[in-house]
Symmetry: C2
Subunit: 283 residues, 2 copies
């Protein structure tokens, strides 16, 4: 670990995140993945929140070195069904990180100008540069999810995109970007409860969109699209993690632990000054 000079010691991982990683080429069947598990974590919500507090502190420290070093690039992709917890994950996992150090790109319904170009055209400008951490809240994966489910392009077109996306991410990785992708996975029942909660609470009405109900009717078609996406685009250089999403505190733990381990895998260290600073006096 090159992080000693950042004053950190690497704590043993308390969440085994490897179990959530999708093996390249896997045939994913989402009904075999649990949405409400807490893995082998031997604590409850209270202990989970304490651990998250530690992990988010660690993440904040690492981010500072990451930024100062200005060498690595980190791309974090978040995908989920509606109410799946993308916004909540961002706010909880990154709450201690300097907001200047991490950016979020939201990819909503494409504009006419975006639709007049290839689907990666609006994505590419937002990939991280040296020392940058970028979170994609939705992403180019919408182009094999909603686009596929709604038949917005012919099958022959979206079918090619798995390979195109792999090539795109491979190029980014070869050129120096670390990529981690999270699929926040909730059950259909959990979505029902969350949508109902938005209806019941006037302070959450702004989050409710009637279109979500129409999308919910296509649940099975979405699961098919997710399964194919996860199996075909989880790679050694850009792995997918299927994060159990029903318990928000555990979901946050899995994402935070995965990111901490990812950063620990990089040679993070503060850069050497370009010239020795010994003896320099500020007068």
């Amino acid at each position: 670990m090159a992080l000693n000079d950042a004053g950190n010691t690497k704590a043993p991982a308390q969440i085994d995140v490897a179990r959530y990683r999708v093996k390249p080429g896997a045939r994913v069947r989402l009904d075999e993945w649990e949405t409400d598990t807490t893995g082998d974590f031997d604590g409850g919500k209270k202990e989970g929140k304490d651990l998250l507090s530690n992990l988010t502190k660690q993440l904040a420290k690492y981010q500072e070195v990451f930024y100062a070093q200005g060498k690595h690039r980190l791309l974090i992709v978040l995908q989920a069904m509606d109410t799946g917890g993308k916004d909540g994950t961002i706010s909880h996992v990154f709450k201690k990180v300097n907001p200047q150090g991490v950016k979020v790109a939201n990819f909503k319904t494409p504009t006419p100008q975006e639709l007049a170009h290839d689907y990666l055209w609006r994505i590419h400008p937002h990939v991280p540069g040296n020392g940058e951490m970028m979170i994609f809240n939705r992403s180019h994966y919408e182009d094999v999810l909603i686009v596929r489910v709604h038949g917005l392009v012919p099958k022959a077109v979206w079918e090619r995109r798995y390979e195109q996306i792999n090539a795109f991410e491979k190029m980014l990785a070869d050129e120096g970007t670390t990529i981690v992708k999270f699929c926040l996975y909730i059950s259909k029942d959990e979505q029902k409860e969350r949508l109902q909660a938005r209806l019941d609470d006037p302070t959450k009405h702004w989050k409710f969109d009637v279109n979500d109900l129409a999308e919910r009717k296509r649940w099975d078609a979405y699961m098919d699209a997710y399964e194919e996406m996860l199996g075909r685009t989880s790679t050694s250089y850009a792995p997918w993690f299927i994060v159990p999403g029903d318990r928000k505190w555990y979901r946050n733990l899995v994402v935070a632990q995965t990111l901490v381990q990812t950063l620990e895998g990089l040679d993070l260290h503060y850069p050497e000054p370009e010239q020795p600073l010994d003896g320099i006096v500020v007068e």
Copy 2:
């Protein structure tokens, strides 16, 4: 040909451009390619200029339909050694095209911000959208030319880029972009004359750059880099043409004829009005 409604008739090609197209996977040896040929064109400079005038008119007509139709995307890549004629080609071949209909992106020395990202990051935002023609004056190919010749990145890095570029262009092509790439090929002697001409003529001094002399010393290394680039990135979906460049009038003819034929291969036609216009009276 769907161009009848544009009032055009397709003239028989007078320049056989297929001979300049690099076959995918070819082992290119540039010393087997002539720089001063005029192919089987049975005319001189005078006849060549007359023909160019016809071709550029045709190009202008096609461009108008292309724009009105708003369906196709055309990407034209120009690469050449210094003094190779990129600027001259653009001004002569496109001189009759509505400047609103064709855009030029110049890729010069990358900025620090561009260098902090993958090399396609500064390229992708400039690819054409529906109804757009885009000319790349230099391009991502600099990243396997000057970058290779000067060793700006390790061999392992530029070596991967041929495949990455093919994947990038394949994605663009799959998503609806027509790509044509021209390598304007001049002899080393011709470059000497052109550089000297810039020195001799005060109105051309602004085009002279002393760095061009240093680059000229690396001529052989550049030829090696060009040969590998041409052989490895000329594909069915994004072919390279090696254009004989010593005679400017013939070079322009080859580029213009290739573009005219490329556009004739598309189903260009004015779009149908969204509702019948018969009987509409402007009062």
